[in-house]
């Protein structure tokens, strides 16, 4: 939005109208909240609360016109599963309407189309030149019949530059035990979950009614991926896995509560077709920096994994639940952020009795399409206070990320439905 205004200002022909344009510009200037919306940010950044939706806002996308589309976990009181927000003043926005009667997680837009997922299907809507959905009640069903067993059920979605769509189908299990999450229960041989879940499936973005038989199991051995994004530099799909939990609860003689809190890492993977990240047979130990054999499948906390499993591209603290991944391509933020990854960590619940952790947006620097250097916490204190974070009782839980046309970073919170916008105040 702002960029357009600048560009017009540079055109001499537009100078005549510059007065009114200037007025427009000041009106649309993004103003950070005095307290930066309660967030702790690096120097030079500011944040504002764009809107309070009161809904379980999961993933989010912004059109080039600045319209926000937000996927709700459950339809709201009006029965709408997708919210439409239009920019008002000062960088804020208001809900103007909603559509889609289904809950879910995934949403993204490309020029001309908006894609959104329920926990079983993926739908496509048409976007007009103003970024408006023209067929809100009659979307095309692109993918259907994906497994939903009310566990890791969110069907997060992303698209490459060649017309393929990638869908997470999460494993309906913690570690493929004979009895899920039961103390001492061992893993099912040849884990059957992997036939229809526990991986990323690839489909065509423009073909109707595709189901398992029409798609490809692009990568397997991924327990649950909520955050994923296409990296244009590497021309590769990157995903964030939610690692398994309850190592101590289920195998107390092998893991103490501290190890259970710190293992395994939440991993970022750079995927190629046919990759296997190893779930449920393997987990990644971020203290030893090794792939380990899972206790359900013969592991004892010390045995390294054998087999041809993918090495993580990067690793993050256990159980912090990466719910969104976004490669930043904007120019608003300083150079170091360009083509790097923002990751929204929803925050943990399964680290007790150790303090809970997460509830922040992290930044992972990238170079030439690969993670390069240490990750850092970028936007902190969604929890409201360190005490609320350690108790696992945060005020807000970051869940979705999107880049605005001006390079702002939008963050959703699925606890209270707050939508944040983070901006860089140049100079």
């Amino acid at each position: 939005m702002k960029n357009h205004v600048f560009r017009y200002l540079l055109l001499p022909t537009a100078l005549v109208g510059s007065l009114s344009l200037l007025a427009l510009k000041t009106e649309n200037k993004v103003v950070a909240d005095p307290d930066n919306a309660g967030l702790k940010l690096p120097a030079g950044f500011g944040a504002l609360k764009v809107a309070e939706t009161g809904a379980r806002t999961r993933h989010i996308t912004v059109t080039p016109q600045g319209t926000l589309y937000v996927k709700l976990n459950r339809p709201n009181k009006e029965g709408k599963g997708i919210l439409v927000l239009r920019e008002t003043t000062g960088g804020k926005a208001e809900v103007i309407n909603g559509f889609g009667s289904y809950g879910g997680t995934g949403i993204y837009s490309v020029p001309g189309f908006l894609y959104a997922s329920s926990d079983e299907d993926v739908f496509r809507y048409k976007l007009n030149a103003k970024g408006e959905v023209t067929n809100p009640t009659q979307p095309e069903k692109i993918i259907t019949g994906l497994i939903n067993r009310r566990q890791h059920e969110g069907k997060s979605i992303a698209q490459d530059k060649a017309g393929n769509i990638y869908v997470n189908i999460g494993a309906y299990s913690n570690s493929c035990q004979v009895k899920d999450r039961q103390k001492g229960s061992l893993g099912k041989p040849n884990c059957p979950v992997l036939d229809s879940a526990g991986g990323i499936w690839q489909f065509q973005a423009d073909k109707l009614n595709q189901t398992y038989g029409d798609g490809t199991r692009y990568a397997t051995g991924l327990r649950n991926v909520v955050g994923l994004d296409w990296n244009a530099q590497a021309n590769q799909l990157f995903v964030m896995q939610h690692g398994r939990d309850q190592l101590h609860d289920n195998f107390p003689e092998l893991y103490d509560t501290k190890q259970s809190a710190e293992l395994p890492a939440e991993c970022m993977y750079a995927l190629k077709k046919g990759d296997n990240a190893g779930w449920p047979y393997v987990y990644y130990d971020n203290i030893r920096h090794k792939k380990m054999m899972a206790p359900e499948y013969g592991g004892d906390g010390k045995k390294e994994a054998t087999g041809n499993f993918l090495e993580p591209a990067a690793a993050y603290p256990a159980h912090t639940a990466p719910n969104a991944l976004l490669f930043y391509t904007g120019t608003m933020f300083p150079e170091k952020y360009r083509n790097g990854a923002f990751i929204a960590f929803h925050g943990s619940w399964n680290r007790a009795p150790e303090p809970q952790k997460g509830y922040y947006v992290a930044f992972q620097p990238f170079k030439d399409g690969k993670p390069s250097g240490e990750w850092e916490v970028f936007a902190d204190n969604f929890a409201g206070s360190p005490e609320k974070a350690t108790a696992g009782r945060p005020d807000h839980k970051p869940c979705g990320l999107a880049q605005g046309p001006d390079g702002s970073l939008y963050v959703t919170d699925d606890k209270q439905g707050t939508i944040y916008r983070i901006v860089y105040a140049k100079k």
């Binding site: 009310r150 899920d180 999450r181």
Partner: protein, 153 residues
């Protein structure tokens, strides 16, 4: 005579109204509350119950019993915790999956805890029914024993 009858009716109506107002939260069967006054819960039971809770339940239902949004239900004030004891004991014996809890669905599973003894289950449920703001009758080991015997699936 008529007047006396009226007074009796009026009294009955008033006491009903008062009883209805006492029901907090309204979902809970009134019997739990009235009965709770009759049964004292010993400190030893609560201590033992807390230990079982910390060992087996805390990970998912959290230290404050508040659960985790959309994942694990809270244990404070639910109809399952405060209501029918047979149903409650069976949740622990058999685990639970795919059930809505007071109108909310949860995207995780509760494993079975049939390996716990009758006393451990009685203690932990008594603790849960008298913690996190809950107030309800104790669960006795004999009750768990009977429910377990009838539970053979």
């Amino acid at each position: 005579m008529k007047q006396i009858l009226f007074v009796v009716y009026a009294l009955a109506w008033f006491s009903q109204l008062a009883a209805a107002q006492q029901k907090t939260p309204p979902k809970v069967k009134p019997t739990t509350k009235t009965a709770a006054k009759l049964v004292a819960v010993s400190a030893a039971t609560l201590t033992a119950g807390k230990a079982v809770y910390t060992q087996n339940c805390l990970t998912c239902h959290m230290a404050d019993g508040g659960g985790v949004e959309r994942m694990n239900p809270p244990l404070n004030g639910t109809t399952w915790v405060l209501g029918d004891k047979t149903r409650l004991v069976k949740v622990v014996l058999n685990g639970l999956e795919g059930e809505d809890i007071d109108g909310e669905s949860y995207a995780s599973v509760m494993p079975a805890f049939d390996a716990l003894t009758d006393k451990q289950i009685a203690d932990v449920l008594t603790y849960v029914r008298n913690s996190f703001g809950n107030k309800a009758t104790a669960v006795a080991p004999a009750e768990v024993k009977a429910i377990r015997a009838a539970n053979k699936k």
